[in-house]
């Protein structure tokens, strides 16, 4: 009994939903991933744990099998029913490289990723940028501007992150639904443009 969610049908998907899609919301520590998912989700965001083997620091270490210990990594996610037929899940994923196993699982089948970055801590975004590139996930940068520090010019950010000219970069306040939705829309438009 304890496992049945307390109330209502809104826990469950509409009967008509046939297809599930997934977009990743990624970024370094405390950049706003959980906030973003909470802002956008139609259900209270959920959290799951992945029991995983910890295999050193780098992607290359993954293939090795020595000296492993297990650890758990939390990922949080939310849900958006976008049509009678389609549901979109947003998965928040930590950007530290030692969580690569979680990345393999979570990135499989993802349409794309929104990479949240704090312009004051751009260097902390390098590991997560490496991961999206490594897994070949198309992405859009969402600049989460904390507080009222001086604006960093987009060009500065592009240069620091070594972005391709076609990679979109948008500003986004993860606490604001319109702003967050706009970042997702920018990502989806970019994904569409890649098909042409």
């Amino acid at each position: 009994m304890a496992f049945k969610p307390d109330s209502d049908e809104s826990v469950y998907l509409r009967e008509s939903v046939q297809t599930a899609a997934k977009i990743l919301v990624v970024g370094h520590f405390a950049v706003g991933k959980t906030t973003f998912i909470g802002t956008m989700s139609e259900i209270p965001p959920l959290r799951t744990e992945e029991v995983m083997t910890r295999a050193g620091e780098g992607i290359d270490d993954l293939k090795g099998t020595t000296g492993k210990t297990t650890t758990t990594v939390a990922m949080d996610f939310g849900r958006l029913t976008l049509s009678e037929e389609l549901v979109l899940y947003l998965f928040g994923t930590p950007g530290q490289q030692r969580f690569v196993q979680v990345w393999e699982d979570i990135s499989r089948g993802a349409l794309g990723a929104l990479v949240l970055v704090d312009p004051e801590r751009l260097d902390e975004s390098f590991p997560v940028m490496d991961l999206v590139e490594h897994y070949g996930i198309p992405y859009t940068i969402a600049v989460n501007r904390f507080g009222d520090r001086p604006d960093h010019a987009d060009e500065e950010i592009r240069e620091a992150l070594d972005l391709l000219p076609e990679t979109p970069l948008v500003s986004c306040d993860a606490r604001d639904q319109r702003s967050s939705a706009n970042a997702l829309i920018t990502l989806v438009r970019y994904l569409q443009s890649r098909l042409n």
């Binding site: 496992f3 958006l80 499989r108």
Partner: protein, 126 residues
Amino acid sequence: MTTPDEPEQEQPATPLVPAYVITNGRSLLDDDTLSLITLVTTAQDAPAVQHLDPEKRRLLELCSGGHLSVAEIAGHTQFPVGVVKILLSDLTQGGYLVTRAPIPAAKLVDRNILEQVLHGLQARFG
């Protein structure tokens, strides 16, 4: 270039029941047939449940209310994703559950899906 560790991620795993007990010692390797966004619900003509482990019965109870993704089932039950996948996969093979597959890899860049996502976002938040 290291980032501060989140304390919770350094703690040892503390599932409600040790994983090796509820999965009967099966490994936690990825089951490719179930992804995080595979949609699951109970089968119409499911066999009797009396002989099933309590964990499996609880999963079935949760799934009986409608469709949920594998990730949501893990989130609601607090079982680790790997454990949930194994249990759900057993239950599916046993005829208790039916799944709706996520988008097949080949159709990932399906125009229709992107279009539906875009229109859905614009309709709701535009």
